[in-house]
């Protein structure tokens, strides 16, 4: 766990790590929570030209505060244009125009498949989760998928009870065998480390530990025997600017949502 003395929280590190990998010419399909914070942080720092799309139909939106939902009025007010939801899924997502789709979930496995549907049997669930929403097709049609999730042994599991959205399936060339030409999950940004799929097996591999994290600490938060890259790196700590912009964004957001 990040000590308070580091000057930032683990969630901040996760969000900032996700923001850094976004490029100025990316077209991002944004989900609520950490992805939304990461995308807007990128837009407010190194990637001012990034195009943010929320599945509510808002294209090229530039919100001043983070939306609570994917359809807050702020998104529409600041968008280049807002289209109907069938068009969003047909022309924009299935159309292959999204370069980065952000996903998260309740559970992930070593091949970056995600579960947001149920824990326990589908017909008699122990925990009924919200379901897939846009995820099954975001996972298929975005050029690549970035995942943000906090680690934990109940979230990073050996076997998913339900595959809501496919990552690399059973690994290797599984995606290609299903006819997919997109890259699938290329990066998983957690609160403790960054993982990337092995180029061949597609098994998630830790490539970078966040400041203050150890192999053992990370392994304890994962339900499968975790692989580490030979050239394991340390994630650069958040810069003062990153922290400042992110915290100001969250503070504006808090003030806006508290009203009523």
């Amino acid at each position: 766990m990040n000590a308070p003395s580091l000057g930032f929280t683990a969630t901040e590190m996760m969000t900032i790590a996700a923001a850094r990998v976004l490029r100025n010419d990316d077209v991002c399909f944004v989900g609520i929570g950490a992805p939304s914070a990461a995308c807007n942080l990128a837009r407010l720092t190194h990637a001012p030209g990034i195009t943010l799309i929320y599945e509510s139909g808002t294209i090229g939106t530039e919100p001043d505060v983070l939306p609570l939902s994917i359809g807050d009025g702020e998104l529409c007010d600041t968008a280049l244009t807002t289209v109907a939801v069938p068009e969003m899924f047909r022309y924009w997502l299935q159309g292959g125009r999204i370069t980065v789709g952000f996903l998260g979930g309740a559970q992930i496995d070593r091949f970056a498949n995600l579960n947001t549907t149920v824990v326990g049997p589908y017909d008699a669930p122990k925990v009924r989760l919200p379901g897939g929403g846009g995820a099954p097709e975001i996972a298929a049609h975005s050029r690549e998928i970035f995942i943000t999730m906090a680690m934990g042994s109940r979230a990073f599991v050996e076997k998913l009870p339900f595959i809501t959205s496919m990552g690399h399936g059973t690994g290797g060339d599984h995606r290609a065998r299903l006819g997919l030409k997109t890259l699938g999950p290329t990066r998983v940004m957690t609160d403790r480390c960054i993982l990337e799929p092995d180029p061949d097996s597609k098994e998630l591999t830790v490539v970078s530990l966040h400041p203050g994290e150890t192999r053992e600490g990370v392994e304890a938060q994962c339900g499968w025997p975790l692989k580490f890259a030979a050239d394991l790196k340390e994630t650069p700590a958040p810069t003062a600017e990153e922290l400042e912009v992110l915290r100001a964004l969250h503070e504006r957001t808090r003030r806006a949502h508290a009203g009523g």
Binding site: G73, A84, V85, K126, G132, G134, T164, R175
Partner: protein, 281 residues
């Protein structure tokens, strides 16, 4: 031309026990006032269709109005679970709820196909996902040119669709603006459509020749309910009440707090109460 009715008349006349009912509004323009009227009138055995059930359907499910839910994402957006939906699915309270679960792409395409009077929708979907294993209404078609196998789902054809819109003119033409979701498709896919609006005006004031307008002759009944989308919102009229969405979590978590809330804010309330609930625009 649609009938201009009170909300009580519109629901009493056009929504029957056992109907398949779609209430749409993608975060924006969710027809809460109409949902409350359905609860007040005690409708039962409904099949509810909605991409994102939201608090609206949490309330309808919690009072036992629904036998079945057709949906693609059942959460409280940005907050967490829909506790009444979970209680119905996990514990069968107040009774067992049948579910037919899709992805957003499937639901949006199914509305589109319904509006287009097609029997099914096709799209490239569900690849490598488990939902087709548990939903027999996810099937496939094969492209007659390339041989590619694509996903297919039945078109949505609700008995009744209910949406909330910005305004209607005296002929019952209706204007939507902002995040328009699948509302136009939901109306055009349905046998009957009820539209609640913020106001009825002489001139719609559509800003563009391509504004999203539903002609009055596609609508069964128009009802003026100012504030009728609260705690959702109406672009240019009032904002989303995000604080209420956050407050709903503890209310819905327990059965007794939920029932007390329904009694106080639905059963003992009227559509007119929505006007007072609007936050500033």
């Amino acid at each position: 031309m649609p009938a201009f009715l009170s909300l009580a008349e519109a629901i009493a006349t056009h929504v029957k026990d056992g109907d398949t009912l779609a209430m749409e509004g993608f975060t924006h323009l969710i027809p809460y006032a109409a949902g409350h009227e359905i609860i007040r009138q005690g409708r039962k055995h409904l099949t509810l269709i909605r991409m994102t059930p939201d608090i609206l359907y949490d309330q309808l499910i919690g009072v036992g109005a629904a036998d079945k839910l057709i949906f693609s994402w059942g959460g409280n957006p940005g907050v967490g679970s829909l506790h009444r939906l979970r209680d119905a699915v996990e514990n069968g309270w107040p009774h067992k709820l049948a579910i037919e679960e899709h992805s957003h792409a499937a639901m949006a395409n199914a509305y589109e196909a319904g509006a287009a009077n097609l029997p099914f929708a096709t799209f490239r979907g569900y690849i490598g996902a488990d939902l087709p294993k548990v939903n027999p209404n996810i099937r496939s078609v094969t492209c007659p040119f390339t041989g590619e196998v694509l996903a297919a789902v039945p078109a949505h054809r609700p008995d009744v669709s209910i949406i909330h819109a910005l305004r209607a003119d005296r002929k019952g033409n209706v204007l939507l603006e902002g995040i328009v979701g699948v509302q136009k498709e939901a109306v055009l896919a349905a046998k009957k459509a009820i539209v609640t609006v913020e106001e009825i005006v002489d001139d719609l004031g559509a800003p563009s020749p391509n504004s999203v307008i539903l002609p009055g002759w596609t609508i069964t009944a128009v009802v003026a309910v100012p504030g009728g989308a609260h705690p959702s919102y109406a672009q240019g009229y009032y904002k989303r009440d995000n604080a209420f969405y956050i407050a709903w979590d503890p209310i819905a978590r327990e059965r007794d707090t939920f029932l007390a809330w329904i009694d106080a804010h639905v059963m003992r309330a009227t559509p007119a109460d929505f006007a007072a609930r609007r936050p500033a625009a």
